[in-house]
Amino acid sequence: MHPPANTRLFEEKYLRFQSEAGARFRAASGGSVPNGWTTVEQAEWMAATVGLAPGERLLDLGAGRGWPGELIAQHTGAQLLSVDVPIEALRQGRARMREALGARVWQVCGDGRALPIGDGHFSAVCHTDVLC
């Protein structure tokens, strides 16, 4: 068994820049989901590289608000499971992901070191800026 995931720093991070000035700052920081380092071009490259067929399953692990899994699923037609620990991150991404993907997206709160998912379930996994 693992000790609980230590994501307290992230939990605090997701509570920052939620004010009006914070929203302007995030919007001016570039990218469609500011705070992440993956650019739109890089996410498009990922979508082209993983080559998922419509309906295939994609896991975005340590997804935060759901980027770049959202764009990859949008471009490929894949179904997306978006997993992270801080519920606040999932909450902040929910409306946007629903709008982009409708019923093709599931958000799950969970520890990426011990996923409650059977072997061989996904055709592709993306994992951006999580490793530490």
């Binding site: 990426g112 070191r113 996923l115």
Partner: protein, 136 residues
């Protein structure tokens, strides 16, 4: 976590990982400076591609995106400067200060060639494992 990625992927399924990592083969002093300047969660254990291979993946592509990463950090610092007054009022001085320090340190480390950002793609090679288990 890479092992979990491997486990939940179907045979030949693809994994895409992006991470900020230390420039490989840094000498003692540079390594020390990189760890000091880099973000607390910089990936430092081994090169990303090597980590993937250790977890059972065949390395398919490795792409250095440090140049774009540097642009993003600059954009963030600029956006912070442009919104500084309002951010200080609405988020507090500490939040603004901490954000600026953190990003400035990151930029310095990238400019000095100590940090890079990499995207790697790996394929979950599972048929080999089956052979060694005597499944085939």
């Amino acid at each position: 976590m890479l092992r979990e990625c491997y486990r939940v992927l179907r045979p030949d399924g693809l994994l895409v990982v992006a991470a900020i990592e230390l420039t490989p083969n840094l000498k003692d002093l540079d390594l020390h400076r990189a760890l000091e300047l880099g973000p607390a969660d910089v990936h430092a254990e081994a090169a990303l591609g090597e980590m993937l291979q250790r977890s059972g993946f065949e390395l398919v592509i490795e792409r250095d995106v440090t140049r774009e990463f540097r642009v993003r950090i600059r954009q963030r610092l600029d956006a912070l400067a442009r919104n500084e007054q309002a951010l200080r009022r609405e988020e507090g001085d500490d939040v603004v200060h901490e954000e600026r320090e953190k990003r400035a340190r990151m930029l310095k480390a990238v400019n000095q060639g100590l940090l890079r950002r990499t995207i790697v793609v790996g394929r979950a090679e599972k048929s080999l494992m089956q052979t060694s288990d005597g499944v085939t």
